[in-house]
């Protein structure tokens, strides 16, 4: 007997609204379908009405976890448009925050994976230790979530000796704890039984379906923007691209844990080799008419911003391609022929950030299930028609 199970838009496994319809036969998934558009915020349109500087704070609020990823991606593009040379110290601090963000995002993901697999102790422990990174970020920027450290032409806050020492001390604790999680996450029998062999995505499929980030690297493809197209100071930092060849959720876990250690090494290198000098240069108010594509390796994968300027102090177009969007097609492939029990794990393994990725709304007729394209004008007329009817029905007169 086949029947359809709706997972989302409201479901305990999902922290954000997305519609996942799975057709199951017993416990086995035969077909899956994704419905997007529950969390559209009209962000790109809003960006066109704000100045270059104001947009930094707007892009920061695209996502709560990779807030620094979106601002860095945006700021890098704008700096290219304005032909600015960012001072070395500024770039180092910017990279430091990116790597700290990767650490906090991956620790968060480990906890979420534990929770989705019903391993709540793992979740509690990783999230406790994630507090250390959050505290470091607070030491650097004064904020825990939206750091507000980027500005066009550099960063807004400098580091002093005391801060560097504190961060290095905390880093030792983090390293020790991460080793413990590496051990636990890859050897605990019931946990590994849930992860190994689940959500298989072959190397060919991963490339063909344009998977990004740890999902792609866990399928054995060593693709990382930091290595392939180095931005900021990544060409000076010692690190290697972490991959796994198991092509399953366990591989994605291993890749993320390995990346944690790479990030710790990078953070240590940055703190010990912080160059002297200014942290930012002055940026002009306007950018010459041009267009640019900026790439950035966010914790979840490759983040792309396309920015077009027209000589004014506002961008003409800002297009955001969040990493989650790149992984949707691969998710559908991974879900097929899996168990219902694996849906939350497979879906969580791409580390989805739905509000990052929502760029469109589809209007579906609830009765017939038909989708249609409706222009803004038609929507306006429809609302006027309905509200007009309401006013007549109520027959209420405004007293003033």
């Amino acid at each position: 007997m086949k029947f359809q199970i709706p997972i989302g838009p409201q479901h305990p496994a999902l922290k954000e609204p997305i519609g996942l319809r799975v057709v199951v036969e017993g416990e086995i998934i035969r077909d899956a379908d994704l419905r997007l558009g529950y969390n559209h915020r009209g962000l790109e349109k809003l960006a066109e009405q704000k100045t270059w500087i104001q947009n930094i704070y707007l892009t920061e609020r695209i996502c709560g976890i990779c807030s620094h990823s979106h601002t860095t991606c945006y700021v890098q593009g704008v700096e290219k448009l304005m032909e600015l040379q960012v001072p070395k110290r500024g770039l180092y601090i910017r990279t430091l925050v990116s790597e700290l963000e990767r650490v906090h995002s991956h620790l968060l993901w480990l906890g979420v994976a534990g929770h989705e697999a019903g391993f709540d102790s793992f979740f509690m422990y990783t999230w406790r230790d994630r507090e250390i990174v959050m505290d470091i970020l607070e030491i650097i920027s004064g904020n825990r979530v939206h750091y507000g450290i980027n500005t066009i032409g550099g960063v807004r806050r400098d580091l002093d000796e005391l801060q560097v020492k504190k961060i290095l001390d905390s880093l030792d604790i983090l390293r020790k704890r991460s080793e413990y999680y590496q051990n636990l996450g890859t050897t605990e029998p019931s946990f590994v039984a849930r992860l190994a062999g689940v959500g298989y995505l072959s190397k060919e499929d991963a490339i063909a379906l344009c998977a990004v980030g740890p999902t792609l690297r866990a399928s054995g493809v060593p693709r990382d923007v930091r290595k392939d197209d180095p931005y900021a100071v990544y060409d000076e930092l010692p690190f290697e691209v972490c991959t796994a060849d198991t092509c399953d959720v366990l591989g994605r876990t291993v890749v993320r844990i390995k990346e944690l250690f790479q990030s710790y090494n990078m953070i240590e290198y940055i703190l010990k080799n912080l160059p002297e000098g200014p942290i930012a240069v002055r940026a002009p108010r306007r950018a010459k008419p041009n267009e640019v594509v900026s790439r950035y390796e966010a914790p979840r994968g490759e983040n792309i911003h396309y920015i077009k300027s027209n000589g004014t102090e506002k961008p003409e177009r800002l297009k955001v391609r969040a990493p989650t969007l790149g992984n949707y097609a691969a998710t559908i492939k991974m879900l097929k022929n899996g168990f219902i029990a694996d849906v939350p794990l497979i879906f969580a393994a791409i580390d989805p950030c739905i509000c990052c990725a929502e760029r469109a709304v589809a209007l579906v007729d609830a009765r017939t299930g038909q989708e249609k394209v409706v222009p803004m004008l038609a929507l306006k007329q429809l609302s006027q028609k309905i509200s007009g009817l309401n006013a007549r029905k109520r027959e209420v007169e405004w007293p003033l």
């Binding site: 709706p6 305990p12 019903g118 605990e188 849930r194 168990f339 219902i340 029990a341 939350p344």
Partner: protein, 323 residues
């Protein structure tokens, strides 16, 4: 006078009132242990050290709106929680906790009460299945199917492992089994393997991690209990707590030498021994992740059942040596 005594036994101690208070205490104990294992505080606010939290939760749920789905089997859906609670409370009466002397056995102690107790502990599983099935929700239906699939896995190893101490003691009566091991404490060690198997099976019977598959919240929302709310959910939760007490009591009786016949000493040893068993149940809950339903069946038949048979073999050999 005899009627009054029986009524006191049924309602106050060790009947419903004692069960209610003790099972809520056990829920607090389990929650607190689980929280401490996870580096959390657990309940702290209601009563001293949060002791009254489970009771507060119970009364809060009793006051909540109670919804029966339109398409559900109305009568069955509403009756199941009460039935379930009645069944596990009856099972409690069979445990040799109070007023037990082997010479003058009370009416709840008879040869073969072990089998009846195991039967009464199997029924709640069917109650959960019917609860899920009768609510006609998709998630409940999947949960109900999982309840039965899991039952197929853990039930046989549980029976086998509980039977091995009975065979060694040469009796099917709980009070006699307990008395046998109290007289020869060293023989408890013979059944260590069976105790471990029974612990795992009881964990599965109580649907706790790693066997909380029928109501895995990240997969199928509330599972069997998705449509339950208010009073019915409160009764189901109480039922699970009572079932935990009874199951821990059963393990304490057959594996840990039961409880002395003196009523007060019996009460103290009942509390200590059930808490000892539940400590291990909480430890398992905190240190594992939820496995898949097919893995439960495979694990039970590949490892638990053969090990239980091995235990039977050991018991038969030991019995031969003794006699």
């Amino acid at each position: 006078m005899a009627t009054l005594k029986t009524l006191v036994y049924l309602i106050v101690y060790p009947g419903l009132l004692f069960l209610f208070i003790y099972s809520t205490f056990i829920e607090w104990y389990d929650r607190k242990l689980y929280a401490r294992f996870q580096n959390r505080m657990g309940p702290t606010h209601t009563g001293k050290a949060g002791l009254l939290q489970p009771i507060a939760d119970f009364f809060k749920l009793m006051a909540k709106e109670d919804i029966t789905p339109e398409r559900a089997d109305q009568g069955l859906f509403s009756a199941l929680p009460a039935f379930g609670l009645a069944i596990v409370s009856t099972a409690m009466l069979l445990l040799p906790v109070w007023n037990y002397s082997l010479d003058k056995p009370s009416f709840t102690s008879f040869n073969g009460d072990l089998i009846v107790l195991l039967y009464l502990l199997s029924l709640p599983t069917f109650i959960f299945f019917l609860a899920g099935w009768s609510s006609t929700n998709l998630f409940s239906t999947v949960g109900a199917a999982r309840v039965l699939t899991m039952l197929f896995g853990y039930e046989v190893p549980l029976f086998l492992s509980v039977l091995s101490p009975a065979i060694l003691a040469g009796s099917w009566r709980l009070a006699e089994i307990a008395a046998f091991y109290r007289a020869r404490p060293l023989l408890i060690l013979v059944n260590l393997l069976a105790f471990l198997i029974a612990l795992i099976c009881v964990q599965a019977k109580l649907e706790r991690t790693p066997f909380d598959i029928p109501h895995a919240e990240t997969e199928i929302v509330g599972g069997t209990f998705t449509e339950y709310s208010g009073k019915k959910l409160a009764l189901f939760r109480l039922m699970l707590d009572v079932e935990m007490v009874v199951a821990a009591g059963l393990l304490a009786t057959v594996f840990l030498g039961g409880f002395p016949t003196n009523p007060w000493l019996g009460l103290v040893s009942f509390i200590l021994k059930t808490m000892f068993v539940i400590f291990f149940l909480s430890l398992i809950r905190a240190t594992t992740s939820r496995i898949r339903v097919d893995q439960v069946v495979a694990f039970s038949w590949k490892y638990l059942a053969p090990l239980a048979v091995l235990q039977l073999l050991i018991v038969i050999l030991v019995k031969g040596f003794i006699s």
